[in-house]
C-alpha cells in the first residue's frame, strides 16, 4: 500500500503533505502535554518492532503472502497520538532508508497509514473496549480496529491515485476496497493474535485503551469517529438499496406520491453531486461531504451550548 514516487500529481502531494503536517503537529503537541512521559528510546523501540513485524511475512495461499501494517496495534498499545508519531517515523525510515514508498508520496502514505488508519483503528478498538471492559474486549477491539484501519487506509490511497488521474476514481475505489477486505481480515487476525499474547503476559503494556493515559481523549475520539463515519459513508452508502423508504412506498400506494414538491433545491439532491462521476462514487462522495457537514454543525452547536452552560455556572 506504500505509494512510490512518480504516481501522484503536485496538487495531491501538496494537499496530503499539508494535512499530514497538521496531523503530526497535533500529535506532537498532544504528546508534549501528556504527563506520562515516554522516553524517545521506548517509542523508537516500538517503531523498530513495527518495522520488524512488517518484515515477517505470513503465507496466505500458495505464492501469496501478507504482513502486518500495525497502525491499529500501535494505537492500542500507545494511544492515537503516540501511535501517529511512531507510524510517521516508521514510514519516514521506510521511505528514506529503504525506498519502500516515495519521498514525495510520504505525505500521502503517512496520512493513509500513520494518521487515518491509526485514528480509525483506535476509535473502533476504544469503543469496543468500553463496551466490553475485559482483556477479551481489548483483543476484540484490536481485531475490529485492524480491519477498520486497513479499509480506511485503502480508501484514501485509492482517492489519491484517482485524483492524480492514474486510474478512474470509481474503478480504483471498488478494486482497492475488494482486495483490501481480505487484507483487512488478515490484519485483524494478526493484530488479535499478537494482542492475545501481550494481554496474557503484560496487560500493563496495552496503554492505548486506558482513558486516564489520554488527556486529549475527546479530540482523538472526534477525529477517529469522523474517520469511521467517513468510511461508512463512503463504502456503505453506494451499496444502500435504491428501493423507496416506508413513507415514499406508502405515498406511492395511496396515490399522492406525485404531489410531493420541493420548496427549495438542496445542494446535493438525492445524495448526488452537481457533476457526473458515476452513480456509486457520487453517492460515496456526497455521503462523506454530508458526514463532514453534520460534524461541523454539531461542533458549532456543542460549542454554543458549552459556552451557555459555562456562563450559567459562572452566574
Amino acid at each position: 500500500m506504500h505509494l512510490p514516487d512518480g504516481f501522484l500529481t503536485a496538487g495531491v502531494m501538496v494537499g496530503t503533505w499539508t494535512a499530514t503536517g497538521a496531523g503530526v503537529a497535533a500529535a506532537l503537541r498532544a504528546e508534549r502535554r501528556d504527563d506520562h512521559h515516554m522516553p524517545a528510546g521506548v517509542l523508537g523501540a516500538v517503531a523498530a518492532f513495527i518495522f520488524a513485524a512488517q518484515l515477517v511475512n505470513v503465507p496466505v495461499a500458495p505464492g501469496t503472502s501478507g504482513h502486518l501494517v500495525g497502525a491499529a496495534l500501535a494505537a492500542v498499545l500507545l494511544g492515537p497520538w503516540r501511535a501517529t508519531i511512531v507510524m510517521t517515523v516508521v514510514l519516514a525510515v521506510q521511505a528514506l532508508m529503504f525506498q519502500d514508498g516515495g519521498l514525495g508520496a510520504l505525505g500521502a502514505n503517512t496520512l493513509d497509514m500513520g494518521i487515518a488508519a491509526v485514528f480509525a483503528g483506535w476509535t473502533t478498538a476504544s469503543l469496543t473496549a468500553r463496551w466490553l471492559p475485559t482483556p477479551r474486549g481489548a483483543v476484540a477491539g484490536g481485531v475490529l480496529g485492524g480491519f477498520t484501519a486497513t479499509l480506511s487506509s485503502a480508501a484514501l490511497t485509492s482517492v489519491w491515485l484517482g485524483l492524480s488521474g492514474l486510474y478512474p476514481l470509481g474503478g480504483i475505489v471498488r478494486v482497492m476496497l475488494f482486495t483490501h477486505t481480505f487484507i483487512g481480515v488478515l490484519e485483524a487476525l494478526l493484530t488479535g493474535a499478537i494482542l492475545t499474547t501481550v494481554v496474557r503476559w503484560r496487560p500493563d503494556l496495552v496503554l492505548g485503551l486506558q482513558t486516564r493515559q489520554q488527556p486529549a481523549w475527546g479530540g482523538a475520539l472526534v477525529l477517529g469517529s469522523l474517520s469511521v463515519a467517513g468510511i461508512i459513508a463512503a463504502f456503505v452508502a453506494p451499496f444502500a438499496s435504491g428501493a423507496p423508504d416506508g413513507l415514499e412506498h406508502a405515498a406511492e400506494r395511496l396515490g399522492f406520491g406525485g404531489r410531493a414538491a420541493a420548496w427549495w433545491t438542496a445542494p446535493l439532491p438525492d445524495y448526488g453531486l452537481p457533476f457526473t462521476m458515476g452513480p456509486g462514487l457520487e453517492t460515496a462522495l456526497a455521503g462523506v461531504a454530508g458526514t463532514v457537514m453534520v460534524a461541523v454543525v454539531a461542533w458549532g452547536v456543542s460549542r454554543g451550548v458549552g459556552t451557555r452552560r459555562r456562563d450559567a455556572v459562572h452566574r
Binding site: 523498530a48 513485524a53 525506498q99 514525495g104 491515485l161
Partner: protein, 211 residues
Amino acid sequence: MPYTGNRPGVVLALGIGLVMSAALSPAGLDGAAIPAWVWPLWLGVFLAALAAFRRAGYPIVEALRRIGWLVPLVLVFTVPAALVAPASQRLLIFAALASRALAAAAAAAAMAIWLGPSGMVRAVRQLGAPSRLADVFEAMLASLAGVLRQAHAMLRAREARRSSIGAWSLVAAAPVETARGFGRLVASLLLRALERAEALERARRARGFEP
C-alpha cells in the same frame, strides 16, 4: 564511502530536489502530451543516482541490482495505468510512467546509500525536523539492527522446530494455527524489544542522562 561531511542536510535537500524533479515531470496522464525534455531529464536523474552510488563505494552492477529490486513495485502501478490508457498511447504512457518512477526511486535509493543511517539522522536534524520526531527516528534506527537480529533468530528457531518447510502453515489452509504461531512469535518480539528499551533507559538514567 558514506558521506562524512558537515552538511548532510544539503545532500538530503539536493536528493529530495532530484527526486521531485523526476517525479513531478509530466508523463502523459489525463490525455496530456509528453514533452520531449522529460526523457533526458529522467535519464539525467538516473545517471546522477548511479554517480552517487559510485561515490558511496558501490560498483555499478551492485547499484543496478539494488535499483532492480524496485522494478516489481513500479510495475504494479504502471501496468494497470497503461491498460486503462487509450490504446494508441499505451506503450508510450507505460514507458513514461516506468521511467519517471524508476528515476525517482533510483535517486532516493542513491541518496539513502550515500548518507547512511547516521548521516540521515544528522540531515533530518539539520533540515529542522521537530526534535521529538528526530529523537524517535534516531532511537528507531539505533534499535533496528538489534530487533531485526532477534526476529531472524526467532524465525530460525521456529523453522528448526517445524517438520514442514517454512515457519508457518498457510493462512488459507490453517488460519487459527498460523495466526496463533505468528501472534506468539511477534508478541514475544514486542516484549523483548520493549524490555530491552526499558533496560537501556534505566542504564542511561543511572549514568546521569536525562530523558
